[in-house]
Symmetry: C2
Subunit: 357 residues, 2 copies
């Protein structure tokens, strides 16, 4: 029996054998790593706040939460007609869309829910309620299948006893359960391989220390935490066999945007002849962008660096530069793994073929 990673988000039925009524069960990520607290959400406002306040984070997880949120919002509606219920569902979707204004997966999931509502206007309300929940659960299950597929492909790259270095959190906590960059580690373990992970703490927000280390420990996988600036030394000491990271956006030529620090890590991996893999769903490919040069780099506030943990650690009014992402050029990437397979250079062709399938 394998120890699966924690379910970040799921739908729990109140009565056995009936999906409705029920509630959304979320890991409150703002309480990690100190405490594992589950939120039980049955209504719209607390879900909006959970997304807004980063209690649920990670693009796929946010999308799933929002879809389930639409279903939860109307589950106790007394609407007399399907059309009235559909209108309520659309309003719920509009409201949730205001929670994190830049989250692509959020809008994508809400669009699917709106379409489902409109298509079911002629149904009786109880049937439409169930149709909406099933659509949200489909989004959840597709995410699980996507993560497991990335994991299966990626696990082929992992040999028993190897050690993976990862950056930030592209783990189960960012998705429904298995994550992207960490999925191969979980799947390889299911296959009986023993693997170790080094996790960069990932300044400024320490997702590696707070989330990646936590979810791997909880799943019984050996993880060692390091500061970002220790990665080169750890590579030099031959502690790392390969690097696996996620991606936020991948250009047509394979240039990959991810959390700040990824680009430097890729350079260090290259210099130490360590394979460097990017793992992400195929929805991350953005063929409108010819190269990574077209990817805008978001800048974050100074406070995350100067007083990230409730305590001032830099002088008042110090000038800060805080790019939130960087772009790793395709030439530093050994392979890109998506749910459709392992893509190898030249990436331009491989990405086009993968998306065409």
């Amino acid at each position: 029996m394998s120890m699966n990673p924690i379910k970040t988000i799921e739908w729990v039925a109140d009565r056995k054998g009936h999906l409705l009524p029920g509630y959304i069960r979320l890991v409150d990520q703002t309480r990690l790593p100190g405490k594992l607290v589950f939120l039980e959400i049955r209504k719209l406002p607390p879900l909006w706040r959970a997304i807004k306040n980063l209690q649920v984070r990670g693009a796929p997880a946010i999308g799933i939460a929002a879809a389930l949120g639409v279903a939860a919002a109307v589950q106790n509606s007394r609407a007399a007609t399907g059309a009235a219920l559909a209108a309520q569902a659309e309003r719920a979707a509009d409201y949730l869309a205001t929670s994190r204004p830049t989250a692509v997966n959020l809008f994508w999931a809400l669009t699917r829910m709106r379409r489902c509502a409109r298509a079911g206007q002629r149904l009786v309300p109880s049937e439409l309620k169930m149709r909406l929940l099933r659509e949200a659960l489909a989004i959840l299950n597709e995410d699980i299948a996507m993560c497991r597929a990335i994991g299966r492909h990626g696990a082929r790259l992992l040999k028993n006893g190897q050690t993976v270095l990862t950056h930030c959190n592209a783990g189960g906590l960012a998705t429904s359960q298995f994550g992207t960059a960490l999925a191969p580690v979980y799947l390889a373990r299911e296959q009986g391989k023993r693997l170790k992970v080094y996790a960069d703490e990932t300044r400024p927000l320490l997702q590696g220390a707070r989330l990646t280390a936590w979810e791997l420990m909880r799943a019984g996988i050996e993880v060692t935490l390091i500061c970002d600036n220790m990665a080169a030394q750890v590579m030099k000491e031959r502690r790392i066999d390969l690097v696996m990271v996620g991606a936020d956006r991948i250009a047509a030529n394979g240039d990959s945007a991810n959390k700040i620090g990824t680009y430097g890590l890729a350079m260090l991996a290259k210099a130490h002849r360590i394979p460097f893999y990017v793992l992400a769903p195929s929805s991350t490919f953005d063929l409108k962008l010819a190269t990574g040069a077209a990817i805008p780099i978001e800048e974050r506030g100074a406070d995350e660096i100067t007083q990230g943990f409730g305590k001032r650690t830099a002088p008042e009014n110090v000038k800060v530069y805080a790019p939130a992402f960087d772009v790793t050029p395709a030439r530093l990437i050994t392979a890109i793994i998506c749910e459709r397979g392992i893509l190898k250079p030249p990436f331009g062709r491989a990405i086009k073929m993968a998306l065409a399938n």
Copy 2:
């Protein structure tokens, strides 16, 4: 008029025109960057505590503080003979040696003070008191001269308008005043050049954020704080003209040990074709070590990483790897600057010649 960096440590005479009695004036570095607090120390126990508790830190600064501490310890002695006073001074030195058991400069400075005491046993006590203070002030002044010499040599590498990236704090706060890695910036400014600095925050202990950013701001030099993992991106954006770092120990072939993260930074500089300079006093060369492979890497406690910000930021009992230093191989170093000049590769020969002068 130039704005000099702050005097980290000095001797202040109580009465004008007389060096004795007086006190040691120290910047309390544990209060930075929040508050600039000076300690006024006239006796042995508070000086011992100041060293122990890192209120004064940085190898050269610790050595100077200890030497002045021996002079301060005996300044009000009622010893009847020079021999009795010398014995008191030696006991003071023995006591101070227990404050930071691994600080090489501390032992070196105390050995000089003991020698001075023994050589002055025949003097009347008041003369020996003055002799001891002058020896301590000589150590202080030699440090200032050494830092200024490193600064002068290093400043030749800096052109008006350029930007320097530095790591950790090898600035004025680690020495009497001008520092090593930062000395060229201060000296170039005296020469009328305008320079900018990017400072890595330097996890886990954040010396870059807390100390380097503070001392440069206070001296009126434009400084921008970044997280360690942003250095590669900052280089890619061509914001950096050269890198200047300190060193704790340099092997006969030029391999240089310094704060963790320096090695990775050197690799990134190389990959971006940015010159990488190591600046340190010639006392840092250790010819007994053929290469950096012989330099032991100290490992630090997990707490600095898991709760470095006064708050737990990683799971309880998470495994941590925390090398405190790394070794930058000579091939990644453009030049080593010591008080005797700019040493260029091949370093083996250049170091030998510099020490022979």
